[in-house]
């Protein structure tokens, strides 16, 4: 604030309160509707004040959408992607920044080009690779004639297959195959002064020790920041889990269950249960964002720029 101006201060608060209303309204409506009984939620116009049926609705939504196992699946997927991405990102960024090897720039561009195309635009072929993740290697061996060679020599036919449909690796691996985390780590490693590398070399530490004892502790805040955004964005994935799990019962995630909670066109319009279910599903990422906001904002800004 530079000058004092009462009128402008009032305008500022007015706009901020208006913005608050816009942002909070959907949350408020979700909570209100989720706490009302069927009669209350069907009233026109609706009373925008919470009622006393929240617990019943939560229980009803929990059993109807089978949220227990689905929450577990979502958790496995989100934590799995977060952990896998952070580990892979840190070691590959380490290799790119601190090693001088042939093909370094090619690797760099191969990995960073993946930032350009989100999963949604290549969804059909990605789905087909998930049916057999080893297919590229099979095709390479086939075209090189190695399959035929091995078959004539040993009588064994190389037939590689790894079906990812309805499995945790299927939910996790394709979401790990982008460069978001690698980019963040590269940016961070570039700020490490050369003197630090030289000093630890002088003290006789090899590259792995330097990575483990110096770089990882230094990157702790970046790691937390990255973990928050990865967790939130993975939890909220919809299209990919929808495709990869035909067996919804054992591998479905909570976000997929939302659709099954929507009242049917000619059925009972029990939006109160739908909203209670939506509340449960929204809560984990919302908690992460609300409680870890400082890291979250930092991770977002440094990984996307």
């Amino acid at each position: 604030m530079i000058e004092r101006s009462r009128i402008f201060d009032i305008v500022t608060y007015a706009v901020m309160i208006f913005g608050m209303v816009i942002v909070v309204a959907p949350f408020w409506i979700t909570i209100v509707a989720g706490s009302q009984s069927l009669q209350e939620v069907s009233r026109v116009p609706i009373v925008l004040w919470p009622s006393s049926h929240l617990w019943d609705n939560l229980l009803e939504a929990w059993t109807r959408a089978d949220l227990g196992p689905k929450l577990l699946n979502s958790m496995i997927m989100a934590v799995g992607v977060t952990v896998a991405k952070i580990s892979l990102a840190s070691i590959s960024a380490f290799a790119i920044v601190f090693f001088n090897f042939r093909g370094r720039m090619i690797c760099f561009w191969l990995i960073f080009a993946t930032l350009m195309l989100p999963l949604e635009v290549r969804i059909v072929p990605t789905y087909s690779i998930a049916a057999n993740a080893l297919m590229p290697f099979q095709v390479i061996l086939d075209t090189l004639g190695i399959t035929g060679l091995v078959e004539t020599l040993s009588g064994l036919r190389i037939d590689m297959e790894w079906n990812l449909l309805n499995s945790y690796p299927g939910l996790i691996l394709p979401l790990v195959a982008t460069a978001t985390g690698t980019f963040l780590y590269r940016q961070f490693f570039m700020t490490i002064p050369d003197e630090l590398v030289e000093a630890s070399k002088m003290d006789g530490s090899g590259p792995l020790r330097f990575f483990w004892d110096v770089l990882l502790p230094l990157s702790r805040t970046n790691m937390v920041a990255l973990a928050t955004i990865l967790f939130v964005s993975t939890w909220n994935q919809y299209l990919w889990p929808l495709l990869i799990t035909t067996d919804r019962k054992s591998f479905g995630t909570v976000v997929m269950q939302l659709k099954s909670l929507i009242p049917a066109l000619n059925g009972t319009q029990d939006w109160n249960v739908t909203m209670a279910g939506a509340l449960i599903i929204m809560l984990p990422p919302l908690l992460v964002v609300a409680l870890m906001q400082r890291w979250f904002v930092r991770g977002l800004i440094s990984s996307d720029k």
Partner: protein, 294 residues
Amino acid sequence: MERRAYYRNKGLPWLLIAPQLLLVLVFFYWPTSQALYWAFTLEQPWGGGNSWAGWDNFLAIFHDREYWGTVVRSAFYACCTTALSMFMALTLAVFVDRSLKGTRAFQSVYVWPYAIAAPAAGVAFRFIFAPEAGLVGAINGLWPGIWNPAINGYQALGMIIVCHSWLGIGYNFIFFLAALQMIPRSISEAGAMDGARPVRRMLDLQLPLIAPTVFFLLIINLISSFTDSFGLIDTMTEGGPFGSTEVMVYKIYFDGFKGLDYSGAAAQSIILMLLVVALTFVQFRWVEKRVHYN
């Protein structure tokens, strides 16, 4: 910045980078080239591999009026959500940047929409806009039948646009605020000394100074509204009524997985990829040229 203190080791860097390279090759490059292959071939209905089709798949799409409908709709959708979301976020960020008392509370709430899964927001907004429910639907009590997104395609599209813009507020707000806070106070103070009122300073000082961020967000928002709308549309309208909310991503999904027309879906994917890549390149070119305003 070039680094001088390298480690020298033949095998180790490859070992470290191998897992990520493998993943990227299997789940990014293979599918992308597969999409290219499918786009230029046609699968035989009785099996027996694909036959070369040249540009036929693309020509078939280009002659399809329905496809052009989805393209125009996607472009409209992308422009509306981008404009609406960025405008709201920028307004909030500019006022939050004045950091009056109690601003922090507002600031942390504005970030919340980012945490919400698109389908969850879709379900909440579907209820808000449901014609039979008592929120927006209450208007039907005054003028019966005036609001019904289940029949009126424009209303359905508008409803999704509002929801998508709401979802984008948090993300845009974070970036706008960060950019505004990077502007040195002295510049605004100098402006004030010269007699520029707050509104004038916003338009003539702050906006030009955060132009790179505005442009970055513009591209990111456009890309995400072209590619990220599936979760919303699937929970809110499923492309209906009568295909009036069917955008490019939804049509790819529908043709590929419901219609099992892999070649057509792949050709559409390629077009969408080109669009996204083109937007990204525009960003790189522009940022390189204009970002060094100091």
